[in-house]
Amino acid sequence: MASKVTMRIQRFDPAVDEKPHDQDFEIELPAGITILKALNKVRAEKDPTLALRYSCGSAICGSCAMKVNGHARLACKTQVSDCTVDGVLRIAPMGNLKILRDLVVDMDPFFDSLGKAKPYLEAGNGSVPEFERKQRPEEFLQIDPSTTCILCAACYSDCNVLEVDDNFFGPATLAKAHRFIFDSRDVDTQARLRAVSKKTGVWDCTHCGECSTRCPTETKPLERIEEIRTKAMADGFHDNVGARHALGFRETVGKRGILDENYLPARSMGFFNLPGLLSLVPIGLRMMMRGKNPPLIPHKIDKLEEVKKTFARFEELRK
């Protein structure tokens, strides 16, 4: 059954437009049509100048990520009927990347960012032996999710950290790092963990979960980032703000049953890191002026023993 849909497409041609603007196309669409096919119908029937990227049409090449109703999705595998609200379907280019024309964005920063993960196997010995290396099925399964990444950049588009800091490795790059950190055949694990533990690496992720929600594959970058963090901590990479923050968090909650918000920033920054500590002063002052600073002597909670018991049990389980 066909139905009439208003496709509200964000247009921008740097040759003529100062800024992007929406354009509505009223179009008759058959049931079961994907957004990519609908866009190509617009090009065929309404406006051949609409620019977009696409290729395989089967969700494996990663070309056609774009924003549908404000969130990044693959146009080729998304049904129009799943996204049309009150007869309107909003289409826009991905975020966090410069628009080149209409739905086409500059992908270079995305592909360049992958380089930060040193995205190739370090086999440790350059020659090609006559036989394959062994890998256990469960070792293959460990890298299976991160190897499904199609580099569509949907996660990059909707990442809240990249929006404010384009030095952040980004979700896809960290998933790529995961793919080698957890590959039993790679010999560079510790150097890789050291690299992603530094500033702009795994600890700069804010856990908003947008990347995993938008990811059209099983890569799910947030889950991979968490696996890297866990491994980095276990392997002793504690000398960074993120790891200290996590450790400090556990210390204060374990001790008082509640977060000590005076202790934690200093603990995270490092007690002997003078420039780091000084960098906290302006925000501290601003909080104080607005009466938002936490009490100097933190509260204790009533059932502290229960929290302590929980922590003890957790430590037991961890061993």
Binding site: P48, V104, T147
Partner: protein
């Protein structure tokens, strides 16, 4: 990879490297590793010769199969993730036409895993390899039998450039976009083969187009043969496993040409499923959820996302889909291109993968042999280039003339009176090719197709590109691609009309048997001065296996 660091190498690609259609290959890559059974290279060679319906050149097939195990180990060492056996070796599954478990796989994303492993190597090479992403290749420059470079257009700016080179390698893929129901990517419009053809190089065996048995109904999207390799059934409207009629010993794992024809026969004879009896069904239900999710997760997602079928609960509607181009640019076993049917070659021009016709696939490719071919012959081409290029000089190019010619071709596409519509012509072409030059062919249909395509070419002259822009002008790219598609579609039809026999993927209802007496020959189509073409033939190389009846 064979050349980087030793020469000044650049890759020019229409998309980004990780977007290439090799990534869509699902089920596996063939190599007689014998990791799960007693396979041998010998058996792989024989299966490939037989699968090709004896049109493959057997010397090339021997190279392909002999080099397969080494190739897989090399990819494994570069980091390609492979699914593993319980004893930690690369796992292997069954595939159509292969008599042993031979398909090495990475779940059902084998092409993706191999492609990304190679893309990762481009990062390892760092600045030593220059990649020009999103450039459309307009012209191949060949003069006096010497390849001198290409003319390409930066899609981001519309700028045309001449790339001069001592040696050029095309790995530009197949030509399945001329069909309505196709598993091919939008980018697979035969740009490479047509550029070579227009530069005076013949095209070989163009009539051989493989139809894959399990295309998702109406979408044509590939569902891997691995689904049958894992034990999936094909059933008709009555729930019968109809392959018992057509290939009783191999059943669903017959070669693709035979399985596709069997499906089409079921549909044509009224045993198709669905309200219009237009499709048959791929039944995976008996495999169970666990196996489907571990071995065939992509198949599950494609059926779910594109037609809303949960293959754990229900069978999936499928139909034959144009999938692989056996034909292409003729070359020797080191990938160096032939200029004629007598063995004369083009200096400095190489081809590998689907755009080439070496010919290892003959009249019908076996599943998992295409990834293998791309890897084996891609490497051979690199090695040969490393060998010969130092002895070549950078040939002169009249850059101005080449740029003018490319500009003129583009200007022509703007000069039409606009009375014809590009997308209408493209859709008509696709309908003609799928319904008249498809799984079953006959003289009547193909004669009609020929005159209709001629009509489309006349109408195409009236098409006018409407987008005046220089930046991501898809309208212009569409027109350049359609011009290519119209040109090579004529060759598919001509080759098919002339070949009065049935062999592999080319099946004539009016000549339903193979004719080894007259047709153990490769078709070679040469472009003539007036834009038409002439067909010549050259014999198939037979080394060890004489043609015999092909039964499964």
């Amino acid at each position: 990879m064979e050349l980087v660091g030793q020469m000044d190498v650049a890759v020019i690609t229409k998309v980004y490297p990780s977007r290439s259609h090799s990534g869509a290959a699902q089920g596996g890559v063939a190599a007689a590793l014998g990791n799960v059974d007693g396979d041998s290279v010998e058996a792989h060679i024989y299966d490939t010769v037989k699968g090709a319906d004896y049109l493959g050149d057997q010397d090339a097939i021997e190279i392909l199969c002999n080099d397969a195990p080494r190739t897989i180990y090399e990819m494994e060492h570069l980091g390609c993730p492979f699914s593993r056996t319980e004893d930690h070796k690369i796992n292997q599954r069954a595939f159509g036409g292969h008599s042993f478990l031979r398909a090495c796989f990475s779940a059902d994303r084998t092409g993706h895993a191999l492609l990304h492993t190679l893309v990762e190597q481009t990062y390892k090479q760092g600045g030593k390899l220059k990649v020009y992403s999103e450039w459309h290749m307009n012209r191949l420059i060949v003069e006096d039998g010497v390849c001198r470079g290409v003319v390409a257009m930066d899609i981001k700016t519309g700028r045309l450039e001449v790339f001069r080179a001592k040696a050029v390698l095309f790995a530009s893929g197949g030509y399945g976009q001329a069909f309505k129901i196709t598993s091919n990517a939008a980018a697979n419009t035969g740009d490479g083969i047509v550029a070579a053809y227009r530069a005076g190089i013949p095209l070989q065996d163009m009539e051989f187009v493989q139809f894959h048995p399990t295309g998702l109904y109406q979408h044509g999207i590939l569902l891997t043969e691995g689904a049958r390799g894992e034990g999936g059934y094909l059933i008709n409207a009555d729930g019968d496993r109809f392959m018992s009629t057509y290939a009783p010993s191999k059943m669903e794992l017959g070669p693709r040409d035979i399985v596709s024809r069997s499906e089409q026969t079921e549909i044509n004879e009224g045993r198709g499923a669905g309200p219009n009896k237009e499709y048959v069904l791929l039944d995976l239900r008996h495999l169970g959820k666990e196996k489907i999710m571990e071995r065939l997760p992509q198949v599950y997602n494609l059926a779910k996302d594109f037609i809303g079928v949960d293959c754990i609960e229900d069978p999936v509607p499928i139909q034959p889909t144009a999938h692989y181009s056996m034909g292409g640019i003729p070359a020797d076993n080191d990938c160096q291109v032939y200029l004629d049917d007598k063995g004369q070659q083009v200096t400095g021009f190489f081809v590998a993968g689907e755009c080439s016709c070496i010919s290892v696939h003959g009249a019908n490719r076996l599943g998992t042999n295409s990834l293998l071919e791309a890897l084996v012959f891609g490497r051979r081409a690199g090695k040969k280039m490393l060998d010969v290029t130092p002895g070549l000089k950078l040939a002169d190019v009249n850059e101005e003339r080449e740029l003018e010619a490319a500009k003129k071709e583009i200007a022509t596409l703007y000069a039409g009176d606009g009375s014809e519509d590009l997308s209408v012509i493209r859709e008509e072409l696709k309908e003609i090719m799928t319904y008249k030059v498809g799984v079953y062919r006959c003289a009547d249909d193909m004669l009609q197709a020929r005159s209709e395509i001629k009509g489309l070419r006349e109408r195409f002259a009236k098409v006018q590109v409407k987008d005046p822009g220089t930046n991501f002008n898809l309208n212009l790219i569409d027109a350049l691609e359609l011009s290519n598609m119209l040109e090579y579609s004529e060759l598919i039809v001509s080759g098919g009309l002339a070949r009065e026999e049935s062999r592999g993927a080319h099946f004539r209802t009016d000549f339903p048997t193979r004719d080894d007496q007259n047709w153990m020959h490769h078709t070679m189509a040469f472009r003539t001065e007036d834009g038409g073409h002439e067909l010549r033939y050259k014999p198939v190389t037979v080394t060890r296996f004489q043609p015999e009846e092909r039964k499964y």
